[in-house]
């Protein structure tokens, strides 16, 4: 593989891991709110979270460009603190995080809903405040769902193309992730070999991620039924 191809692979991994890690805390919080919360406007929050799943990726990317671009209201505000998304790898991570968010929230929400609320109230009567109940009962019991959600977000990030290319373009070494690099190869004569190599790398990473999550889930499961 050429140095340029390696750069694309490294960048893709960096973007995917960053997107996954950054969306995990808000993902768990939103999933908990949707699973356990009772508040006005819950279905509105639910809809907004699911929007990136329903809208064309290009539309999501364009909305991000309008909001987080150099002239966008949020982008302009954040630029004052030195946080810039437009045409940076951080922007690619933001696009991937937004695209993967509904998948992550959905997986975590379902696993939180499966946690027996009677265990949570038992913990409450033993003196644990709601935050401790969440940390010591709810979170450990829904961990398989959290892992599944994280892996889905990672996988989505590895494959994200439309929103990323619309928001932060296709700059080698900065925003050119695996899918963008493969796309670029297919657009130039004689790029087939490079496209194939990157495709194989992409397949390998996806399978490794799936295998890893499978092992992790099995270890948690084994710990739970161990006598």
């Amino acid at each position: 593989m050429t140095a340029e191809e390696w750069t694309a692979v490294r960048l893709s991994l960096l973007v995917a891991v960053t997107a996954m890690a950054a969306s995990l805390p808000p993902g768990i919080a939103i999933a908990w709110l949707l699973a356990r919360g009772r508040f006005w406007g819950k279905s509105l929050v639910d809809t907004i979270v699911h929007l990136p799943l329903i809208m064309p990726p290009v539309v999501t990317g364009y909305l991000l460009l309008i909001l987080f671009g150099k002239r966008g209201p949020i982008g302009e505000f954040l630029a004052q603190f030195g946080i810039v998304f437009a045409f940076r790898w951080t922007g690619a991570a933001l696009a991937c995080a937004v695209m993967g968010f509904p998948l992550m929230v959905r997986a975590i929400r379902l696993s939180i809903e499966a946690v027996d609320t009677r265990l949570e109230s038992a913990a409450g009567t033993l003196g644990a405040n709601p935050l401790w109940v969440f940390a010591t009962i709810t979170l450990p019991l829904c961990l398989p769902g959290v892992i599944a959600g994280a892996i889905l977000s990672f996988a989505k990030s590895m494959g994200e193309f439309g929103a990323t290319i619309t928001f932060v373009s296709n700059i080698p070494g900065e925003t050119q992730t695996l899918p963008s690099a493969i796309y670029t190869f297919t657009q130039v004569p004689g790029g087939d070999a490079g496209a194939l190599r990157l495709t194989l790398v992409s397949v390998a990473i996806s399978m490794l991620a799936l295998l890893g999550s499978e092992l992790l889930a099995r270890r948690i499961g084994a710990r739970r039924v161990a006598t």
Binding site: D116, R118, L119, S121, A122, A123, G124, T125, L126, G127, A128, N129, P130, W132, V133, T136, I137, P140, L141, R223, R224, V225, A226, T227
Partner: protein, 351 residues
């Protein structure tokens, strides 16, 4: 310890309006399923917020809707033992036991260190196991230990034996008795007359959401349930008859012989006698298989349809016999009439 409860709560078509004061010891909340017992305990624990009411434990107000006071569940310091033990499946028995202790450091309440409570409940051998490998009885004992180790001011027990078979019940009841005897205040929910008779100091009878009677167990229990009425006799173990495997008891009403009890001579036990297991005779019966015959006077007769509950005064103790109204007429029973009560010897609640 004292507990004052005065709450009103409506959920759907069910209306709960309960008011009672509990004395130290075991207070039994007694009633049929659906009478509102569990809702009431959930309200005391803070799991349910009633529309109106006041709850005071030992001078500390936990709930007062008029003053908009609601102490959240994690600050109430009541140990709740649920019907379905609710052990945390991802933690070991040891971690389950110490879970609440963590949050109650430095707080008062029921004393007891880890070792002595583990010993009291006989769960030392289970410590490193996982909850799903325990039997129902073991789970309940761990759940009781977990509640106790959170240093609660009182224990709430919501039918802790309901999901267990007879053998497991017999296994756990002595542990609850020991808790009572070391002075742990307990609010105990049950629909079993036998359990209440054995454990309770005070009985609160709940019927369709309202308290219909409150008082000492000896006075209240005979009124408890029309279908399964009975009477309670406090007795002292006088000795054992090893040849026939019997235990002799002395009670105010007279001497009784029951199947051998596992209790030392001189200890007090509580015998529960179901009304339908008591027959009446005008003369002292001779040559009869039943071992226990007590003499007394008819105190009161209450007839419902073809059945009559005859309340006897046996030397100060109360005994109730369920007869047909035909028998009442045939024997010409009336208050003041001396009679002999024949009790089938198997009908004692073992203690």
């Amino acid at each position: 310890m004292s507990l004052e409860v005065d709450v009103e709560h409506t959920r759907g078509t069910f209306h709960l309006a309960a008011r009672f004061t509990a004395q130290p010891g075991v207070t039994a909340l007694f009633g049929r399923s659906g009478a509102g017992k569990s809702s009431l305990v959930d309200i005391v624990a803070g799991l349910v917020r009633p529309q109106r009411g006041r709850i005071v434990i030992d001078g500390q107000t936990l709930l007062d809707t008029e003053r908009r006071l609601f102490v959240p569940r994690h600050r109430r310091r009541v140990g709740y033992v649920f019907q379905d033990s609710r052990l945390f499946p991802h933690l070991s028995v040891r971690q389950n036991l110490v879970y609440g202790r963590w949050f109650s450091r430095g707080a008062g309440g029921v004393a007891g260190d880890f070792g002595s409570i583990v010993e009291l409940l006989g769960i030392g051998a289970l410590i490193e196991r996982r909850p799903d490998s325990l039997s129902g009885g073991e789970k309940q004992r761990v759940a009781i230990g977990r509640a106790l180790l959170a240093h609660p001011k009182m224990l709430l027990m919501d039918e802790p034996l309901a999901s267990l078979d007879e053998q497991r019940r017999a296994e756990i009841l002595p542990y609850i008795e020991r808790l009572r005897d070391i002075g742990v205040p307990i609010l105990y929910v049950s629909h079993s007359v036998a359990e209440v008779a054995r454990l309770a100091t005070t009985v609160v009878i709940l019927n369709a959401g309202t308290v219909t009677a409150v008082g000492p167990v000896l006075d209240i229990l005979p009124l408890a349930d029309a279908n399964d009425g009975g009477s309670v006799l406090d007795a002292v173990v006088a000795g054992h008859d090893e040849t026939f495997q019997l235990t002799r008891l002395t009670s105010p009403a007279g001497e009784l012989q029951v199947p051998r009890l596992n209790a030392a001579a001189g200890s007090t036990v509580r015998a529960y006698i179901r009304s339908r297991d008591v027959m009446l005779s005008l003369q002292r019966p001779q040559e009869i298989s039943a071992l226990n015959v007590l003499s007394g006077k008819v105190a009161q007769i209450s007839e419902t349809g073809a059945q009559a509950d005859v309340r006897l005064d046996c030397n100060g103790a109360t005994l109730v016999a369920r007869l047909t109204t035909k028998s009442v007429q045939r024997l010409a029973l009336a208050p003041g009439r001396p009679v002999f009560a024949v009790i089938k010897s198997v009908s004692f609640e073992r203690s």
